[in-house]
Amino acid sequence: MLPVNAVLVPVYLAAVLSGLLAGSVSPALAYSKSVTFGITLMHSVLAGALTGVYLHDALHLPVNPLLTAVAMSLTASLLTAEAVARGFPEDAAVAISVSVSVSVAVIMTYVVALTTPYGVGKAFGYVFGVSALATWRDVVRLAAVLVIVIPLIHLFWCEFKYVAFDPEGAEAMGLPVRAYRYLYYFTASVAAASLAMSLGVLLAHIIITVPGLLALRAGSPNPFKLSYPVSIAVITSGYALAWFLNIPPSGGVGVIASGALVSLLVMKRGG
């Protein structure tokens, strides 16, 4: 039995909300073959968070690292979308974004380490996640992001899927394919930034891919029937595992999510 007390309520709630967020955005990434794009966003979140830490802690500016993380992931996603619109293959477009994001992350790590005594430690918090320390403020932040992301994904799911299925046919029928790509990249970047800030960049890498890939593998036209329960189950069971093994919650979630990915490989080999 997991421990229950008032301090842990926001932690559990944040876990469920993170699961809902991952469950909503992950199918869009998997169905549009943009899992690597999702991973790119995590690099940009890290770059943005480090920039935020530098601005806040070294320059003492009233800047929230979450906002700089969202801004950086939006920039990376727009860069990717624009490169795709200009005819680059998506993997090449993602590579461009990754190189920019990683360069910023490396430079900012150096600058933060040089200018603030505890900045790197804080930045590592974003890398490994601080989900065990989730507060009501984190719950409200996740809920606010969910209110934007879930309606957008479900309202335009049909279009996202169709653009992934047959972009040229969709364009020939008059669908604004470019606008839908931008909308999808925007939604994914907001969700990725929020997930990375609550679960950590490393864990968000996994949790953003597992539910969508499982749903795609299952071949369901309605992936949300699988992605929501899977993502919530992975996160909550990861927390439970972490409690039993006395390891950080992110580690527990990582073990469960990796197990799900391995089972996906087994399914693929068997299928």
Partner: protein, 269 residues
């Protein structure tokens, strides 16, 4: 029921698809040079040429997905780049099956429904009226009862017919098909060609398709446009498919007794 008369009003009653000195390509590099031809409705036309001849590029120009570098294009009197909304109403486009992602699990009814849902604002939902239209379109291509099947579980010929149904649900005046017979076996090719002939004869739909060769199942005599970056010939089948004309567009053409080998693996009898 014929659709062409209903839709001709949309495009002002003009009955030509016309290209005049069109240069088109990507990043300023022309793939097509000085393309000029005119098709008068009703037509069943085959755009024929080897790989890399610019057939798909030409279709993209006609349907308004690619702006020509220079020259003029009109589809029933409308310039695709000036009035894309009208051109998209009168044209039903069937892309190459190769360009459609097979791993995305989409039901047949979802694929076909997008033909009319794309005309509506979001949220685009499968209503009862849309489902009825989908059933009618699927019946037209001989796939009644396939609504709930997954697209990626169908045979190549069935997939092609689903994409044709998606175009037909829009009741187009012109059906533009990019390599509708590629990757299909002989029987499936014949079924597709017979379906297109039926749509042309019974519904009055103009047909423009790209192909490497002419299907022997085609009983109509099509207009053939022979291209390989430039237009080499436009005319009736018997006038265009002559060794001396084909040699121009197919550099690897070889003549053997009773047949012509078109440089790749295409043989015309």
């Amino acid at each position: 029921m014929r659709w062409s008369s209903e839709l001709s009003a949309l495009s002002g009653g003009n009955s030509f698809v016309s290209l005049s000195s069109v240069h088109a390509g990507y990043d300023g590099e022309p793939v097509l040079v000085d393309i000029t031809f005119k098709l008068k409705s009703p037509f069943f036309a085959v755009l024929m040429g080897p790989n890399g001849a610019g057939k798909t590029t030409l279709l993209r120009v006609i349907i308004g997905l690619l702006k020509p570098i220079k020259g003029d294009v009109t589809v029933y009197g409308v310039r695709p780049w000036e009035r894309p909304e009208i051109v998209k109403e009168v044209i039903g486009y069937v892309p190459q099956l190769l360009l459609v992602r097979q791993d995305v699990p989409v039901r047949v009814e979802e694929v076909v429904a997008m033909g009319i849902l794309s005309r509506l604002p979001p949220p685009r939902r499968l209503t009862r009226r849309v489902r009825e239209e989908v059933s009618k379109a699927l019946s037209m291509v001989g796939l009644k009862g396939f609504e709930g099947r997954l697209f990626n579980e169908l045979s190549g010929g069935q997939k092609q017919r689903v994409l044709i149904a998606r175009a037909l649900i829009r009741k187009p005046r012109l059906l533009v098909l990019d390599e509708p017979c590629s990757m299909l076996d002989f029987k499936a090719r014949c079924e597709i060609i017979k379906l297109l002939q039926k749509l042309h004869v019974e519904r009055g739909v103009d047909i423009l398709l790209t192909a490497h060769d002419i299907s022997p199942c085609l009983t109509l005599e099509p207009t053939v446009i022979l291209i390989n970056r430039v237009v080499y010939a436009v005319g009736k089948l018997r006038d265009v498919l002559r060794p001396e004309t084909l040699k121009l567009a197919y550099p690897g053409l070889t003549e053997v007794e009773g047949a012509i080998i078109l440089g790749e693996d295409h043989v015309t009898g």
